[in-house]
């Protein structure tokens, strides 16, 4: 079968004032009709730039400086604007990452579909409407007749991504570029959308380029894969072969860093390919730590009947008010020294539970006992806040951009009046050394650091008060796999050497498996199941847990090079 899209020696450069940044360096890949070709790599690898280059939608001042892109054997790189616009959405379509932002909120689905269909096919309104209905039905939107005249905000995230796919299909394209199409979606929705893309590729013989950083998606969905690193293609071939028997050291290190659902590792191997790994000096940290003796098996938290509801419709009359029950009478214990995981899809209430435990939002019912003392209710909880700290999901928005890093790290200790003056300075410097950034990092501002480094700053900040309890709300979901592995290793070190008790919130089951001793599964504000992690993954009791587990990517065939020595049990 001949290739529908053929990229040869593509080079994309971004000239800046000081230097020329080579975003893509002589990359080659081909896509056949009906094939899903994965493009995988960490942030900055140039994978999205390839997508934009194909569409001729490179952001200024980026430009193609070498190589060719052929569509059905005709060169399309370097076409003029008008010719390119005829190809866009017609021969080549694109699906964006976030379905919540890729549809114009002020136009109905019908308006957006018909304008695209009419732009390419030159048909009448009635025909365009007919085709819109067909497309919506094809991408699996129920009642397309009534849905057609609705606005994007009336659709859920998964449904919106289906609409986006319908838009991409408007004029039977030969190639679809899907740039992280499921990253913003829940696992169950992700599986449905990937199935749909698979089906459409087969049925219409469309060549799909699937750009993602998620090895699980690559392993489950793609036929062939191209691994990119710093603008260069490091390895390309059939997915089974590349992921099962990788030949390039970078591919090997990338695969070794993927959390496995089928085996718990002692630590992630940091097979650093290019020296990106930064050390974490747990020994130094542990030496000065004020450790309290933990009695294993004794509960640190006893949580009973915890509830939270949010007002949805206000009204003067109480009976007409409408509430959304976010957390519905949840009870559990967190034992001293354990990592307690909560998993669930978005909207299941897991973050709300974490916020209530952190004292960031007030419970509407139930009690939280910490070390036998209540922390819900009216009394002051300053003593309690001193013992707990939190690491947030987004390393970009959780650090104040106008504060210097040393001030950020010092703030919790300063606020609680634990340290001041020289002692505080010393603590901050030590912490920055220990998390592997060096004391000099304190003089910089957050924007000078990468995502992984920022998460290290967050951890240093959390450790400044020498807490007993750490709440981690999706601490790695915004990070690349290799950085995720580093951060997870740090958290495992903290737990083992400093006796920290942790609450670990995540939607990522393989990560939870690596981190947690016991796991609670939440759904619609209720706890479905609480079990030891091993037992939960081996033999789930509840139907819902089973279905969640079944959505995990099957990665047992992935290369095990580098992780053999770390497997526990």
């Amino acid at each position: 079968m001949s290739a529908i899209l053929d990229i040869a020696d593509l080079t994309v450069e971004f000239p800046t004032r000081r230097e020329i940044l080579v975003a893509v360096d002589r990359a080659s890949l081909t896509v056949s009709p009906g094939e899903i070709h994965g493009l995988v790599g960490e942030s900055g690898a140039g994978k999205s730039t390839i997508g934009a280059a194909i569409m001729a939608l490179l952001e200024r001042p980026g430009r193609i400086t070498g190589g060719t892109i052929r569509l059905r054997n005709e060169i399309i790189s370097g076409l003029d604007r008008v010719a390119m616009r005829r190809l866009r959405g017609c021969e080549i379509s694109m699906i964006f990452q976030d379905p919540l932002t890729s549809l114009n909120p002020l136009f109905t689905i019908r308006e957006q579909l018909t304008e695209t269909i009419k732009a390419h096919l030159g048909v009448t309104d009635a025909e365009a409407r007919e085709r819109s209905l067909d497309l919506l039905a094809r991408v699996g939107i129920p009642e397309p007749g009534t849905r057609l005249d609705q606005y994007p905000h009336q659709f859920s995230g998964g449904m919106r991504q289906r609409v986006v796919i319908a838009l991409a299909l408007c004029s039977e394209p030969g190639v679809i570029i899907a740039d992280e199409p499921t990253t913003a979606l829940d696992v169950s929705i992700q599986a449905q959308i990937l199935d749909l893309i698979r089906e459409l590729a087969n049925e219409r013989q469309v060549g799909v380029i699937l750009i993602t950083h998620d090895m699980g998606v690559i392993a489950d969905t793609t036929d062939r894969v191209t691994v990119m690193h710093r603008g260069k293609v490091v390895e390309t071939g059939a997915t089974r072969l590349v992921l099962g028997k990788p030949s390039h050291p970078y591919t090997k290190s990338l695969i070794a860093a993927v959390p496995r659902p089928d085996a718990k590792l002692h630590r992630f191997p940091l097979v650093s390919h290019d020296g990106r790994a930064t050390e974490f000096r747990i020994d130094d940290l542990a030496r000065n730590w004020n450790r309290t003796r933990a009695e294993a098996g004794k509960p640190l938290f006893e949580i009973r009947g915890l509830a939270k509801r949010f007002l949805q419709r206000r009204s003067f009359i109480p009976s007409r008010r409408k509430y959304l029950v976010a957390v519905d009478s949840v009870s559990f214990d967190i034992l001293q020294g354990e990592v307690f995981g909560i998993v669930g899809e978005s909207g299941s209430g897991k973050s709300t539970v974490a916020r209530m435990i952190a004292g960031l939002s007030r419970a509407d019912g139930g009690t939280i006992l910490y070390d036998g003392k209540p922390v819900t209710g009216s009394g002051s909880i300053a003593w309690y806040r001193r013992q707990i700290q939190m690491v947030f999901q987004d390393p970009y928005s959780s650090l104040n951009p106008l504060m210097r890093v040393d001030a950020i790290v010092a703030e919790p200790a300063l606020h609680h009046g634990l340290l001041s003056g020289k002692a505080l300075r010393r603590r901050v410097d030590e912490l920055l050394e220990h998390v592997g950034l060096g004391a000099a990092a304190g003089l910089k501002y957050p924007h000078e650091f990468s995502g992984g480094q920022r998460q290290r700053i967050s951890i240093a900040r959390a450790l400044a008060t020498q807490p007993k309890f750490l709440i981690c709300d999706e601490p790695t979901s915004a990070l690349d796999v290799s950085i995720q592995a580093q951060i997870l290793n740090i958290l495992m070190d903290l737990r083992e050497r400093l006796n920290l008790t942790m609450l670990f919130i995540s939607h990522d089951l393989p990560v939870v498996r690596q981190m947690c001793d016991r796991v609670a599964v939440m759904r619609n504000g209720r706890m479905v199941e609480i079990q030891d992690a091993e037992a939960l993954f081996a033999a789930p009791r509840e139907e819902y847990t089973r279905s969640l587990l079944s959505l995990m990517p099957r990665l047992d065939w992935l290369a095990r090079e580098g992780i053999e020595g770390q497997i526990e049990g």
Partner: protein, 325 residues
């Protein structure tokens, strides 16, 4: 929807009552109107008589209540200075101000949006840089100075346009309009530009900033990736999203056009309510001042009500509730 409008109207009435109360309580500090109304040879008896006649001997809440009672019936009392009903005086003057405000508002909105969109699309072109630099002048010069400069240039030096007054007006059913005569239209140009220039530059800068923000959004990239033409992307997808926040500011600015008209009307001797208000302050003509302030706040509140409704008309996310699938 109806529920929403009823609630907004109710809120508007509360706002008006508060404005009235504040305005009314301030009049007690402006001075005693009796001093101005009676000549040098007044007796204490004259003063007392007039005070009782005007109701000024009553306690403050009673005065306010009486004012509200009459105002609700369209009766704003009798001007102390001119001795004629205030409603009649304002009725004569209001068309001048409203026409001026409408023309300069339209000028500001139309030109502001067009230039804002232009400078956003051609972000780095020399023309947009020129416009952006020029707009700084519009923002930084005070209104009266612009007025004087324009008069000097177009009336004194070039002798193209009149420097004061409304020109000839035609009376259409009690509304004196300057739109129907050439001299009336010519007389409108300079005051309208003077009054609208600041608003125009403000709207332009706002539209530009919003548009640049909108052009960065995913749905704009996605619209381009679907092969829609630049024209459709810029003027259909981007412009409509740009207008949502811009409308709020336009509403607020339209109110201040009417309020700022005082300065422009003074510079151009425009026979509108602004000039009337200035004279009323000089004479402590309380009924006129009260009526003027109420009129201005009715307009402000009305415009903001319209803005809120426009908001709902443009943005479907604000309609109804709880309809996510």
């Amino acid at each position: 929807m109806l529920n929403y409008i009823v609630r907004r109207v109710f809120q508007s009435v509360v706002v008006l009552l508060i404005v009235g109360l504040v305005a009314f309580s301030m009049f007690r500090f402006v001075g005693d109107p009796i001093d101005n109304m009676l000549g040098q040879e007044r007796t204490q008896a004259d003063i007392e008589r007039l005070r009782t006649q005007l109701g000024l001997d009553q306690p403050f809440p009673v005065q306010y209540w009486r004012f509200l009672e009459n105002a609700a019936q369209g009766n704003f009392g009798v001007s102390y200075r001119q001795g004629r009903p205030v409603a009649e005086i304002i009725g004569e003057r209001a068309p001048a101000t409203l026409e001026l405000a409408a023309v300069s508002g339209l000028f500001a909105i139309a030109l502001g949006i067009v230039l804002g969109v232009f400078t956003a699309i051609r972000r780095d072109g020399w023309a947009s840089n020129l416009i952006m630099t020029g707009s700084l002048i519009g923002v930084s010069l005070p209104t009266f100075l612009i007025g004087i400069l324009l008069i000097y240039l177009f009336s004194v030096e070039l002798d193209l346009l009149p420097s004061f007054g409304r020109g000839e007006v035609v009376d259409v059913g009690g509304w004196s309009t300057g739109f129907l005569t050439v001299s009336g239209l010519k007389a409108l140009v300079l005051p309208a530009v003077t009054l609208g220039l600041y608003q125009m530059t403000l709207i332009m800068r706002l539209v530009r900033a919003e548009m640049l923000e909108v052009l960065r959004q995913d749905y704009i990239s996605f619209a381009r990736a679907r092969g829609l033409s630049e024209r459709v992307v810029n003027f259909r997808h981007a412009l409509k999203n740009t207008l949502v926040p811009v409308i709020t500011v336009i509403g607020l600015q339209f109110g201040s056009i009417i309020a700022f008209a005082i300065i422009t009307e003074t510079v151009f001797q425009w026979p509108g309510v602004g000039l009337l208000f200035i004279n009323a302050i000089q004479f402590v003509d309380i009924p006129v001042m009260a009526a003027y302030l109420m009129l201005i706040s009715v307009m402000f509140v009305g415009i903001n009500l319209v803005v809120d409704l426009l908001y709902v008309a443009i943005d479907p996310r604000l309609r109804g509730e709880g309809n996510t699938a």
